[in-house]
Amino acid sequence: MNTLARVGTSICTNPETRALHVTASCCKNRAARIRVGKGDRPLTYEQALHPHHIGHRKGWLSQHTSNLMGENGAADRTVEDVFVRRFIFGTFHNCLANEIVIKRRGNMLVVCALMLQRLPPQKFYFLIGYTETLLSHFYKCPVKMEVQTLGDKAVYKYL
């Protein structure tokens, strides 16, 4: 330790030497993070905050009880969630403003989504009814959608 300290000080004090800073690329966390860019990429609040802010500055996108202490069924709920997200992403093509929120109240599955006003309302109504009936037949439980529409995506930051 003493030798290392002596080496460090000699590099720092000598103005003609330069030290190389190296980090293995897997040291950095890349999960759910959008890297800083030129400043022209708009981000929503959900995308801008990193996953360690969940519970502090962010909420939960899927709310169910299976991750609590002493509760079962976490894997099943996760698989259902993933399927529902992909299904809705595909059904409402290019119309989602933000990630959908999935809530489970008792037997019911409630899907809350923010949509952009890209389609006429009749088409929206049809697609909502279609997803509700199809998902409720698939998962054998009542599925409800709560949809709000926006004009444009709500931008929080530009990165």
Partner: protein
Amino acid sequence: MAVPMILGRNIHSFARIVLGASQSGSIGLNTCRNRGIYTTLRPFRLTLSACLHTGTVVSSQPSSTVTVTEEPDTLYQKVSVLVKGHDKAVLDSYEFFATLTAKELGVTLGKVFEPPKNIERLTLLKSVHIFNKHRVQYEMRTHYRCIELCHVTGSTAQVYLEYIQRNLPEGVAMEVTKTAMERIPEHILKPMWKDLPTDPPTEEKPNQ
């Protein structure tokens, strides 16, 4: 003479039409609310505010749901409701809701306390292959809240718990522990030796 008769008929028909509009309009408004879509209301619903309200025309007898049984109601010494969740703020508001309902319904509250939180931590490898020195840590926090009700009857407990459970927020789990009180069975009430006939102590000679 003729004028009030005509007026009477007009008012009656107007009331019927208005009542029909209000019934269909209210049903329509309910469905609109359930959809949650911000669409503009169609013009005929806006005229509801100006209509008459004749309450006596449609009267329905409320069906009595009170059942009378012969057997006595179970008595609970303590009903303990433990709520678990990931978000402390949600549990705070739920505790406020539960205590408010208990106060309104006249249920005696015992302790309302917060057992310490439980954090389950996982330390996993960050990379798919090698790089054992770089790991990632996840944690799952479970917050608890306990509400105790003292000295409730079975039917009160059932009603309270059903109301509480219908309004349980998503992502919150509940465990209910009931401590029932029962009458001591009669054969244990008195000690056995009191009922035995009091015999004088007989001297038994050892048989040899």
